[in-house]
Subunit: 211 residues, 2 copies
DNA sequence: GTCTATACTAGGATAGAC
DNA sequence: GTCTATCCTAGTATAGAC
C-alpha cells in the first residue's frame, strides 16, 4: 500500500495515473541528468542543458527538483539502485572474489557506456546536499555492506590480500567508477571496450607487477 | 647566453635585476595557483582567489598571464619540471621497477602535501590551452619517455607483467596523481600519510588479489 | 504544471588612471 | 606594471501568466 492509496482510498486509479505521468517525467529528467553528468561532469553541466535535453522549460524542472544539487543526488540514487539490483542478481554461492570482479566489470561497463555520473569530490555544496540526502546515504550504505561482506569473505578464503585493510579494498574498488584510464585507453583507438575492461580488471586485482 | 644579454649587451645587470623581480612575482603567482588547483581544482578556483592569495589586484595577474587556462598550464609546467628533476635524480643503475615505484611514491607525496594540481579532463577550453602549450607538451613528453623506458626495461627484465601494453602501465601510473583513494583514506583518520603511500603502492603494483 | 521573461550573482576579462 | 572600477557573459533560480 502506497501513499496515494492512503491519501485517496476511494479513487486510487485516477490519482495513480497522474502519478505515473509525473513519475515518467521525472524519470526522463533523471535519465538526462545522468547522461549529462557522465558526459560533462557536475560543474560543466548546466540546468539549461538538462532542460534542453528533456525538452521542457527550465522553470518546469524546478517544479520537480529544488536545485541542481538535488538533480545530481537523484541521478546518484538511480545509479546506486542499478548497482544494488546488479549485485543482488549475482550468485551468492560463487567465490566472493568473482562477485567483486563482476562488480568492477559492471562499473567499468557503465562508465564506458557514458552512464556513470561523475561528481567532483571538491564541490562542497554538492557534498552537503548528498550528505543530507537520506535515500542516497541508505543506498550507498547498502552497496558498501554487500561489497564489504564479499571483501572479508574473500580475504578469509585467501583470494584477496589479507594484509590490506578492507576499507582500502572498498575504496579502491569504488575508485574504478571514476578512473580516467578507461577513457584514455579508448581515446587511443587501440582497444575495444571489452579489452579495456579486461586490462583494467587485471591491473586492479593482479597489479602491474609480474606474478 | 640568454635573450636579455642578446638584446642589451651593454647593460645586462639592470635588465637582469628587473627580470628577476618579474620572475619572482610570477613564481609567487604560479605557486599560489598550484596550491589552489590542488585544493579546489580548476573549476572551483577563481582568478579572484589567486589574486587574493598572491596579494595583488586581479588586473595585475592578467598582465602576467593572458587567461585562467594559461595560469593552470603554467602550474602544470612547473609540476612537470619538478617531476622531471626528481626522475633525473634517480639512480639509472637501479632496477627499473624500483625507479617506477619511486616515481609513484613521489606523485602520492606531492598529492598528499596538497601540491598536485588537479585539472578536469572534461573541460575543453582547458584541454585546448594545454594542447597549444608547447612547454607543457615538451615536458609531458620528456617525463613520459623516461617512464616509458623504465616500463619496457622492467617488462624485459620480468619485474613487470609482460602481457600489459606499456601504454596501459604508463596511464595507470599517471592516474595515481589524481587518485581519490589517498584523500579518502586520510579522511578516515586511521592512517598516516606514509602508511597511505605504502598501501597505495601495494594495490598499484601487486593488486588486490593474494599472491 | 508548463511556459516566457527576468531577477540576481559569480566570475572572467578589460579600461583607464597613476 | 599596479591599482580601482567596470563590463559582460553565463548560469541558478524565480515571478507570474495561462
Amino acid at each position: 500500500m502506497n501513499a496515494t492509496a492512503l491519501k485517496s482510498p476511494t479513487a486510487p486509479a485516477r490519482r495513480s495515473f497522474r502519478e505515473q505521468m509525473h513519475s515518467a517525467r521525472e524519470d526522463a529528467i533523471v535519465q538526462a541528468v545522468n547522461r549529462l553528468l557522465a558526459e560533462k561532469g557536475f560543474d560543466a553541466m548546466t540546468v539549461d542543458d538538462v532542460a534542453a535535453e528533456v525538452g521542457i522549460a527550465k522553470a518546469s524542472l524546478y517544479r520537480h527538483f529544488p536545485s541542481k544539487e538535488d538533480l545530481a543526488a537523484e541521478a546518484m540514487v538511480r545509479t546506486l539502485e542499478r548497482a544494488q539490483a546488479f549485485l543482488d542478481g549475482l550468485d551468492a554461492s560463487e567465490p566472493p572474489v568473482q562477485n567483486l570482479q563482476a562488480a568492477v566489470r559492471w562499473m567499468l561497463q557503465v562508465q564506458l557506456q557514458g552512464q556513470m555520473p561523475s561528481l567532483p569530490s571538491a564541490n562542497s555544496s554538492l557534498r552537503a546536499a548528498l550528505m543530507a540526502h537520506r535515500a542516497y546515504l541508505d543506498r550507498l550504505m547498502a552497496v558498501s555492506e554487500k561489497l564489504g561482506g564479499w571483501i572479508e569473505a574473500a580475504q578469509t578464503e585467501g583470494s584477496l590480500d589479507k594484509t590490506l585493510p578492507p576499507i582500502v579494498v572498498l575504496y579502491t574498488l569504488y575508485a574504478r567508477a571514476c578512473d580516467p584510464v578507461p577513457g584514455f585507453l579508448r581515446s587511443t583507438g587501440e582497444y575495444s571496450d571489452e579489452q579495456i575492461i579486461e586490462l583494467l580488471l587485471r591491473t586492479c586485482f593482479q597489479g602491474l607487477g609480474a606474478r
